[in-house]
Symmetry: C2
Subunit: 319 residues, 2 copies
């Protein structure tokens, strides 16, 4: 079977081959896969525990014994729903991932594809859907009466969080540096949005639009204090990324007088994966795809993946 593998930091993905069987796992044919930010970080060498050569790719829609499945990217989460056990990993590092002709997984990683999704949509849902579900539903425990703010609507987890919150019945607002992305979010059901570039943007947006009960963030950084300003008393903030670096001025007084809860999370457990799929199925939610590439153009796809104008996932069609 062929694979695309990364042999060094910042390298290109080169076609290689893998032979042999893996005990306890089944070999499934990859129909489509998706690029995650995780793959981009690993390619740059900026991820804990990288080993070369690596076959990346955590998400896929696959075929096994003439049926189509979607992969759960968790490997060995373990029995504690709150945190993964030490042996936990994510498909695509250290286990060979989905940018390949076939992938070896335990059969309990195969989940039925919700009927309304096409092969490309099923192949980009797993990791970002799971991360969004844990942050929004398990941690922030969003309900339909919550006003939800998604900070930075350009990312796939953010977009899934928006779609999930809308499906649940929440009023959702978003931020972006791009007016176009805010417009696209509004077309998908968001009420309104704002730029996070201006000074005091959070305070000003709260004055204009009111406060928020649930805020989903992947930036951190100096702007995090504006999320605290945006936050209602009793608000919950789910954070799953840190593209803007360390949070530099978080007031404890704001945290405790406003009774704010901050939940760090990444990925989610297998029960959450199942619940996420149920939510997607019930509300016929479709993950946002920007572009579909052929798997053999994977290096082009990675180049395009860092384009800031993109809105939605990059899917890869396998032959």
């Amino acid at each position: 079977m062929w694979v695309y593998e990364l042999s060094e930091k910042e390298g290109v993905l080169e076609k290689g081959t893998r032979e042999g069987e893996i005990e306890g796992k089944v070999k499934v044919k990859v129909l489509s896969s998706g690029i995650n930010r995780r793959d981009i970080w690993i390619k740059k060498g900026l991820y804990p525990g990288i080993k070369y050569p690596a076959v990346l790719g955590s998400d896929a829609c696959v075929s096994y014994e003439n049926k189509t499945y979607l992969l759960n990217p968790n490997i060995d989460w373990g029995s504690n729903p709150m945190v993964p056990q030490e042996t936990y990993s994510i498909l695509g590092l250290e286990h060979d991932g989905c940018f390949a002709e076939h992938v070896w997984v335990t059969s309990d990683r195969l989940f039925k594809v919700p009927a309304h999704l096409n092969i490309e949509e099923a192949g980009v849902l797993g990791l970002a859907g799971l991360t969004a579900y844990r942050a929004l539903c398990s941690n922030c425990k969003v309900t339909k009466n919550d006003r939800v703010f998604i900070n930075g609507i350009g990312g796939a987890v953010a977009q899934n969080a928006m779609l999930f919150a809308l499906a649940i019945g929440c009023e959702v607002h978003v931020s972006s540096s791009s007016g176009d992305k805010i417009e696209q979010a509004i077309q998908m059901g968001a009420t309104a949005g704002c730029s996070y570039k201006e000074e005091n943007w959070g305070k000003n947006y709260k004055k204009k639009e009111g406060g928020f009960d649930v805020i989903i963030d992947s930036a951190g950084g100096r702007g995090f204090k504006e999320l605290i300003n945006l936050c209602n008393i009793g608000g919950r903030i789910g954070i799953y990324g840190g593209t803007r670096g360390n949070i530099t001025d978080l007031s404890p007084q704001h945290l405790f007088f406003k009774q704010i809860h901050i939940f760090g999370s990444t990925m989610g457990n297998d029960v959450e994966f199942h619940q996420m799929l149920e939510l997607v199925k019930t509300h016929k939610i479709r993950p946002v795809i920007d572009t579909v590439f052929n798997i053999h153009d994977i290096n082009k796809a990675f180049e395009y993946a860092v384009d800031k104008e993109r809105f939605g996932k990059i899917a890869l069609q396998h032959d």
Copy 2:
């Protein structure tokens, strides 16, 4: 009836009088009261919404119709267990508080004193016990298998949190700038402790003693990152104060990779007050008292209250 009232920022408490009745409330005789850090902040003028003249004092053991009660300092929390309603206040600002001969409260603020407590202990438990309970039990959901770290064991909330965690069966470690206070905590049941003054103290203490599942903090500041270092994967941090100012270098990556939850809280709802008293009763927990003053020496008591060497509450005996 006489009261001790504050007429200006940084003023002394002067004896005055109050007359008249308050509709819907009962007049109860104060047997003992206690000074909280809140009273000290108000006296300094550093608290939201101060109005002069103010009769401070949120905690008391009282007598009403020949029975002894302990006061719940919450006024009008409202129906949402997560957050108080807008009309919420704490006894002692804006409603006249307990540094007085009598205090007017609604009769549902009167709680039976756990039998093992003396009058002074009952008069210092309420506010600090409630705040500790919400942070430790409701928010961090501590269980006996959790390793607990209390940052800054000098404060009353911290001491109650330690006592509650010990009663629940946890292994508890503490920090302080004072070796004496660490020693006192160990005598009360803590396993060990460390100074928070050294560079990298959290990282070093984790190496030596292992990580912690639940951390209780009232400092914030630059040192908060050491609490993140101390924290186990899946750890919970309850923060109810900010004596060291803004948190200045909180890594989002640490928050989400370690699945850390941070809970800001202050006070707690009426159900939590009841639960706190049950815990105190069941385990015969006694709040720590440093010194008992006579109420008429209240200005001396306030001067002593800021003494950094003190370990435990300052109780005030009323005539």
